[in-house]
């Protein structure tokens, strides 16, 4: 049992470290270190521009999309090298957030299902950050039950005509392309009538409307499709096989391990270390210490669970559904942490924004936190995944499994 790199890994790490040391945009390092859930502020820069510039620089030097093949703009690195890169990139890794969906989900789906000429055309600019991609799966009628989606694709000559609405599309407002899951046959059971495409987000008939979230910010969008035409050669996988194609996408999302999940604990520990309460330093208060200790072991438990997964990767094993615990634990934890940080501030905890304690760091965290327990699979879906795929418990009884999609009830009452 050890945390040592193999000689190969050590060599890769020193190469990566040297290049990052010489090239990273250090003028933003402090701002990036101070960012936390719900609050990333670059004082002297536009985050999209800074992120694109950093991605471009990495791509030019061969450090973009490490796990992708070289011919598509990647580096052909092993999964463990990707993890080492993330460790070395540190706070600058936050600049990759706008590319996560494209690099982690859309790219791999294209690699598995697109025509060769499309891969060569579309993947390198995706890797370099020149083009940004989004994923158009969720719908008002299909959240956790994503296969319940209703956006229609109908064949018309060599094209498909798309009508419908997507929701919760991260980054659609700055995306150039997207992968789109549609219903091509409503007369068969829901999982069997789906088909996947990719499309240009500037196509006529695509309308992106930002969603104002409960937090007040807008990271997500609704996307409306009105008679949008997609040529058949942009179809990914067979007609009717969209569900299986989407599983590839979601699998890739899960294998993106090693990226630290945000628990809020380091922020809270730092805060409590200097905070004075009415009776003395917070860190010497028994109740505070007990809370901190409980969160400390969750945070360290997640950290070392991730280390175990990385070790398995290093041995060539594929990560499994057990990695669902990171999001499940961190999501509700960061919400509780933020709530407690405000509790420690007493009545003044109600003040948010720049006038608040620590410029409103924990207030912003509190307001953003509910989303973390829903996005990318709700807590309940994560528990189902663990129960069914790790523990081997029965799947939920699905009353709509064998029913033609257009016969499934659409209203609760």
């Amino acid at each position: 049992m050890n945390f040592d790199d193999t000689p190969q890994e050590a060599e890769f790490r020193s190469l990566a470290r040297a290049w990052i040391g010489a090239n990273a945009p250090k003028e933003y390092e402090e701002d990036l270190r101070k960012s936390s859930l719900g609050r990333t502020v670059l004082k002297n820069g536009n985050i999209l521009e800074v992120a694109k510039a950093w991605q471009r620089k990495k791509a030019d030097a061969g450090w973009a999309c490490l796990h992708w093949p070289k011919e598509y703009g990647g580096r052909g690195s092993s999964p463990i090298e990707r993890v080492i890169w993330q460790q070395e990139e540190g706070p600058f890794g936050q600049l990759s957030r706008m590319f996560i969906i494209g690099h982690g989900m859309c790219g791999p789906t294209m690699m598995a299902f697109a025509r060769e000429e499309h891969k060569r055309t579309y993947l390198p600019p995706l890797a370099s950050g020149e083009k940004v991609w989004c994923q158009l799966f969720s719908e008002p009628a299909g959240g956790s039950d994503v296969a319940g989606l209703r956006t229609r694709a109908e064949k018309d000559g060599d094209d498909w005509v798309i009508n419908g609405q997507k929701i919760w599309t991260s980054g659609a407002h700055y995306s150039d392309y997207g992968i789109l899951l549609t219903r091509t046959d409503p007369t068969v059971p829901k999982h069997k009538g789906l088909t996947m495409f990719f499309l240009d987000m500037k196509s006529p008939g695509v309308e992106v409307r930002p969603i104002k979230q409960a937090s007040g910010a807008s990271d997500f969008n609704e996307v409306y499709f009105t008679n949008v035409r997609i040529p058949d050669h942009q179809r990914l996988g067979e007609v009717g096989d969209g569900w299986n194609v989407s599983l590839t996408t979601l699998m890739n999302e899960r294998s993106a391990i090693g990226a630290a999940v945000s628990t809020g604990f380091p922020e809270l520990f730092e805060y409590c270390s200097s905070l004075m309460l009415d009776d003395g330093p917070a860190i010497e208060d028994r109740a505070v210490r007990s809370k901190l200790a409980n969160w400390a072991v969750k945070a360290s438990g997640l950290k070392y669970t991730s280390m175990r997964a990385i070790s398995a990767l290093s041995k060539g094993e594929r990560p499994g559904p057990e990695n669902s615990i990171g999001k499940l634990v961190a999501g509700s934890m960061i919400q509780d942490v933020a709530t407690y940080a405000l509790d420690l501030q007493g009545a003044s905890g109600v003040v948010s924004g720049e006038d608040a304690e620590l410029a409103g760091r924990f207030q912003a965290m509190l307001l953003r936190a509910p989303g973390t327990r829903v996005e990318g699979g709700t807590d309940e879906i994560m528990r189902n995944i663990i129960a069914e795929r790790v523990l081997g418990l029965p799947g939920d009884i699905r009353v709509d499994k064998d029913v033609p999609f257009n016969k499934i009830p659409t209203k609760g009452r």
Binding site: M1, D4, S290, K298, T305, M307, E380, A387, D396
Partner: protein
């Protein structure tokens, strides 16, 4: 990086699991649970023959000379099997205290006897209510004899010797405490069994009246040695707790698959699935924290105090959580003496107190994290 046990260590685990499945069935555990024997002597002998008792004891002192990672592996299996033997008192506490502070003669006297299963040892620290703290040690040592009462002492009624924490000064500092080795079969020692939450591991009160004792380690070093012993034991106990958590989770999972209610496997109801998923989460976090503790223990890293406290808290919570919800999944049958669920519930709650309570270790963890940050 290889943050995992080696293939050899995993083989040892399989070997231990197989051995315990044969020699330590729930039926065997029940002999001790029902008070028909103070501990499982046959199993103890078998563990000695397998080399498990001395797995971390150097060959020079009659052990297998493997190491602490191997001991962690065995500990997990002992917890999984709910073994009714004085393993933790003898191996994690007494043997570790001897390894840290014993003279060559003391090691030669006791460690081979521990490895061969001929000597049972324990640590006599507590004196009634309270957590590990120098001020709670009232028993005095003077002129080579001890006077005072220790309670509770794990496995005290079956132990041959004890490492005893005694007061040798009154300055109010840690240096007031010294450790002593006492032959519990000698004159001046009176032992009374206590009923306790987990009858598969006995607890006792030991009264020392001018009992002969020899110093273990230098006078005044007692507290510092004890702190090290407790940290090591915290990691090793965490592995027992992880083993117990996994077993309780498995029992719950298996029952949820077998039991039919409302025409369905109860494991198909989300309320039950999610309860089991949460148990899995606790057990996984505990396992990962414990692995870090194992790494720190085996390399004698400066991170050990923090890692041990984190492993202790996480594993204590996980075992309590899994053991109690295992009963819940079983419903009424889980609350019968006949079903094995309560054995893990008892063990989980007894282990949560053995090295000091959860709140004590929470406090320790924060102290240690602050020290690290300050350094």
């Amino acid at each position: 990086m290889n943050f995992d046990f080696s293939d050899d260590q995993k083989q040892l685990r399989d070997q231990a699991r197989k051995f315990l499945a044969e020699k330590c069935s729930p039926k065997a555990v029940r002999v001790v649970l029902d008070g028909k024997a103070p501990y499982d002597k046959e199993l103890w002998k078998g563990l000695a023959e397998m080399g498990f008792l001395g797995v971390a004891i150097p060959e020079d002192f009659g052990g297998a000379g493997a190491g602490h990672l191997e001991l962690c592996v065995i500990a997990e299996e002992m917890g999984r099997a709910n073994a009714p033997v004085p393993f933790s008192s003898t191996v994690y506490l007494a043997a570790e205290a001897l390894l840290i502070a014993g003279s060559d003669a003391q090691k030669k006297k006791w460690l081979p006897a521990i490895s061969s299963g001929d000597a049972i040892g324990t640590l006599a620290l507590f004196e009634g209510k309270g957590n590990p703290a120098p001020k709670n040690v009232k028993l005095t040592a003077a002129n080579g004899v001890l006077n005072g009462v220790k309670k509770p002492v794990a496995d005290g009624a079956i132990a041959d010797f004890a490492v005893v924490a005694a007061r040798t000064g009154s300055s109010g500092r840690d240096g007031d405490i010294s450790l002593f080795l006492v032959d519990l079969k000698a004159a001046g020692v009176e032992v009374k069994s206590l009923t306790n939450l987990d009858p598969t591991r006995g607890q006792a009160e030991i009264i020392f009246k001018d009992a002969k004792a020899e110093p273990l380690g230098a006078g005044g070093d007692g507290w510092s040695i004890l702190t090290q012993v407790l940290d090591r034991a915290a990691v090793l106990c965490a592995f027992e707790q992880v083993g117990g958590s996994d077993r309780a989770l498995e029992m719950g999972r298996d029952y949820a698959l077998d039991r039919i209610a409302f025409g369905r496997q109860i494991g198909s109801f989300q309320a039950v699935k999610h309860m089991l998923a949460d148990m899995y989460v606790s057990a996984t976090l505990a396992r990962s924290n414990s692995y870090y503790g194992a790494w720190a223990l085996s390399t004698n890293a400066s991170e050990l105090p923090e890692a041990a406290a984190a492993a202790r808290i996480s594993a204590t919570q996980a075992f309590q959580h899994c053991a109690k919800n295992n009963i819940q999944v079983h419903g009424g049958m889980g609350f019968t003496w006949e079903f094995d669920c309560h054995m893990y519930y008892r063990r989980a709650n007894a282990m949560a107190l053995g090295l000091g309570s959860l709140s004590y270790w929470e406090d320790q963890l924060i102290d240690r994290m602050r020290k690290k940050n300050a350094a």
